[in-house]
Symmetry: C3
Amino acid sequence: MEKDKFNIVVFSGDLDKVLAAFILATTAASMGKDVSMFFTFWGLNVVRKKKLTSGRNILQWIMNFMNRGGADRLPLSKFNMLGMGPAMMKIMMKQSKIPSIKEMIKMAKGLGVKFVACTTTFAFMGFEKDDFIPEVDSFAGAATYLQNASEGKISYFI
Amino acid sequence: MEKDKFNIVVFSGDLDKVLAAFILATTAASMGKDVSMFFTFWGLNVVRKKKLTSGRNILQWIMNFMNRGGADRLPLSKFNMLGMGPAMMKIMMKQSKIPSIKEMIKMAKGLGVKFVACTTTFAFMGFEKDDFIPEVDSFAGAATYLQNASEGKISYFI
Amino acid sequence: MEKDKFNIVVFSGDLDKVLAAFILATTAASMGKDVSMFFTFWGLNVVRKKKLTSGRNILQWIMNFMNRGGADRLPLSKFNMLGMGPAMMKIMMKQSKIPSIKEMIKMAKGLGVKFVACTTTFAFMGFEKDDFIPEVDSFAGAATYLQNASEGKISYFI
């Protein structure tokens, strides 16, 4: 019997929303679902290396500077307060035994969650394939993603 | 015949998004669907008592102070302006005969909408079961929620 | 054979989220799906004329002034910086050959995407039918929308 598919579009790069996405993804995977996370727009920051290797133009450079990536530097969607909010949240996550995003990535991979980076937006954000962490399984556009998502029962945009 | 299930994850605690969630939930319920709202992260503020009874550590206390709850104190996702935005929106809601969140909660309960508070995140936010309003029907984790949501046709993350 | 339905609730009026909604909508339409975009709350700005014709009260006027509409004036969900962020993003969109929202609207209409403006919230925002661009196919409330969305496989709230 085929496994039920569960797809999440990770549009947001905010720590709290990304955490929610990983909780849903790892939970679904441990329930036996076939899970894919499709990282797009700000969500690409979650699966991108800290230091970018690709050349880019000045506008993309400014956007990338303001929008610094890497799974341990995500802002909060509220109460960011120059980084104090996320720091507090990380301590709280530790206290409540909730894994960090880096640990969530490992956990998700261990459970077979597939990571897909959106090619439609990564060109636009000035990223190249080399800019992403090796945990990314594939690069795909919106059409491939939507086809896969439609084969599941529900899907979320986060 | 079994009723169609409709599940909404209420992640946001912003007045406008919560209002949208309640409009969808009450509409679906009045169409005869079996509706559940799963309150998680900032959304827990919607179904939490104003005065918390539980003990908590200092970080959770700071987070809770900034993130004050109760259905009549939710901020807007934009134009918050030290509370003037939500105040204006509440007057506009009254003028347009759109019920307040408190009235929405009553309406939703009257229509049989089930309220579920997310146990995965409430521990993390420093809440306990006693911190929630009696309208909360049950406490459940992500697995129970996802199982239920997958039995419906569509589901939203708000 | 009936076409698969794909529905998106466009709640947000932020340039980046609206862009994501249009990418998903036009992609789904070009895959042969029957696509509807349901514009509600801030999303109504996308399909509204720049100059409103309707009379409105002072609160609605203030809300509308802060929340100025028209598809070429949408803010970003982050890094807005008094409009510099969206301006940069528009240049980047041009450089990457991603169409502007105005072009996206044309493209979507060309592919048969249906635009629905939410009557439940437009009264509340102080809009009237005359305030919307002619590309809007119909005006409907949440019940009509949910009925249609439930007939598809997946649906997003953006």
